[in-house]
Symmetry: C2
Subunit: 360 residues, 2 copies
């Protein structure tokens, strides 16, 4: 039981959203996640009702949200879970106390999270900092794990894509979208390793029969990310960085070595990874309605992208790049077909509900 | 089980040490606490060996540190506890996983605490923000509670001392030291209420037979705080504030309404409060050697005082007061007898080891 791997990666401490409550904060740019959550909430209520063992309520029911960021959506999600669990146990001899754990990386803005906690509340709250690719809780202590739109964050950039001598060297691009097979494979391998680590850690932490709800951002089978609005937006951002390098504002080598730590699986890829792990029964996997599809807007898309990756950009290029970069991104995005042509709106959020096997 | 009372008090969110790692941070001014801890550590090892039930080790052993501040001393304390518990359980069928919770008020610098956590470590760590005068954990889930030199922080300033119409109105002073009986009684009543709340909350959270070690700063029976170096230092600070008011630098009414939220009990007062609560058996109560007695130094004393109360001063008087206030304090302290005369060095840390009754 050795913990704290997350501290060893120089990268991982920067893998978090923009904190605080300013205009570029994640707090003000997480409407998309919130809408997703609302559509996941109903499913979670139903599934808890069907799959939670009501025979013998635990004295303490422990819920953890993994990748909570600054909180509002994570708080809403756990309160929804508590509501469903309470209904399930309402005819039982006793109702449990609820202990809720909010997880994100060290360096995430837990201060804002704590200040967002409602008061009074019907649960005890704690923060469990660290990488969700490692074990964060004692064995068999969690009753419910929740993770929404966080698993596309890789634990690291695949080593090969920043290695000049590798066929997967990803010069002039910042993502696998539109890149060759070797780059895509390097990203896919990293995702598989990360998912295996996540699923194994959670299987250790969950009680037998414990439940897990995850929302995973991905693409339908057969869709390549370069044909999607996400892939195109990353292409645009990459081209803006190249433009700034040509204008002498940033170093070209820094652009070559910059890669985004995101991977978007297909549902069949996801299913294969969960089955290969072998610790869970898949109770449900379904696409959620994607709120962003309805009304793409250049300012909203740019602002959302900035909330998510500003910290990564500043870490890699230093201060003073972000304003110009996202101003350029906005201008180029205005001329992009992804704002008007539905054929690019392919990213899909997959809702997955798992039950940890009773015997492992 | 309604939690979160701490958020309701406008005061309480400011009751924390100076964060970060700068020259005035608590991190750089907690040597005193560290030395105390070392002398408490041996006692804790012995007492765990005697009083922990080794019959049937729990699968998870939960430890909480209350009033952890930014961490180094709290981390050392819990690691000492884990060491002793492991020794106690080494011949058992199984050893527990350790889940450690660090508590302090919302607004405390948990970011620095998280960064101070060793990696790797043999326990899982979490932060539980909120007032330790309220219940912070589910019923019967803690095996060990620890609280070192934090209980002298009152949850609030007694209402009467800032009420002009009360006999306990404390004009021209910032503490009960040297004040009249009504002021001292108001502080003492508040301390009694706070201790009762603390002991009751911990008794709910601890398992039957659970253990608690607390270090309480106080004065021997019969000593009044105005005869102590702490009381004198507060007198000096109060007189500096009055000087600054006379010089027109701060408002006199603001000085009249400023009071420090600290209370220092006697051992017999402490014993009476624990016995009145009725949830614990007192396994040990003893004075610890006081490291500060040996070599009082004006710069160290001023710096320590500043680390502890800078936030309170800024909250009450606004920014721009602190530098001058503590410069004045240092100058006056140089001429004070408390630096040279042992008769003032009376503050004593009491180590108290409690066992929660099996049946309540």
């Amino acid at each position: 039981m050795v913990q704290g791997e997350s501290n060893k990666s120089a990268n991982s401490s920067k893998h978090h959203m923009v904190g605080g409550e300013g205009p570029h904060s994640y707090l003000r740019n997480s409407e998309y996640q919130k809408q997703l959550l609302l559509s996941a909430d109903d499913s979670i209520q139903d599934l808890i009702s069907h799959h939670l063992d009501a025979g013998n309520p635990p004295r303490t029911f422990r819920i953890a949200d993994f990748g909570c960021s600054v909180g509002p959506n994570a708080i809403q999600a756990v309160e929804n879970i508590i509501k469903a669990v309470k209904i399930k146990f309402e005819n039982s001899r006793s109702t449990p106390d609820f202990h809720v754990f909010f997880n994100d990386l060290i360096g995430s803005d837990f201060d804002t999270l704590f200040k967002n906690l409602p008061s009074p509340r019907n649960y005890f709250a704690a923060a469990s900092p660290g990488s969700f690719h490692t074990q964060l809780f004692p064995k068999s202590t969690l009753n419910f794990a929740h993770c929404s739109t966080a698993l596309h964050w890789l634990s690291r950039i695949p080593v090969e894509v920043t290695d000049r001598s590798s066929p997967a060297w990803n010069a002039g691009r910042i993502h696998y979208s539109g890149a060759g097979q070797a780059v895509r494979q390097a990203y896919s391998d990293q995702y598989a390793a990360d998912m295996e680590a996540f699923l194994t850690a959670r299987a250790t932490e969950l009680v037998p029969g414990g439940l897990m709800a995850v929302v995973v951002l991905g693409f339908p089978d057969g869709v390549v990310s370069s044909d999607s609005s996400i892939g195109k937006a990353f292409d645009i951002l990459g081209s803006c960085l190249c433009d700034m390098a040509r204008a002498g504002k940033i170093d070209e080598e820094r652009v070559d070595s910059f890669n985004l730590p995101f991977y978007y699986p297909s549902p069949s890829e996801l299913t294969a990874l969960i089955e290969a792990n072998g610790s869970y029964r898949i109770e449900k996997m379904a696409a959620l309605a994607a709120p962003m599809r309805r009304r793409p807007d250049a300012a909203v898309l740019t602002s959302h992208l900035r909330a998510v990756i500003e910290v990564l950009v500043e870490e890699h290029f230093g201060n003073g790049v972000v304003e110009e970069l996202f101003a350029r991104h906005y201008e180029k995005l205005l001329k992009s077909p992804i704002l008007v042509d539905e054929k690019f709106w392919k990213e899909t959020n997959y809702f997955v509900f798992l039950k940890r096997e009773e015997d492992l």
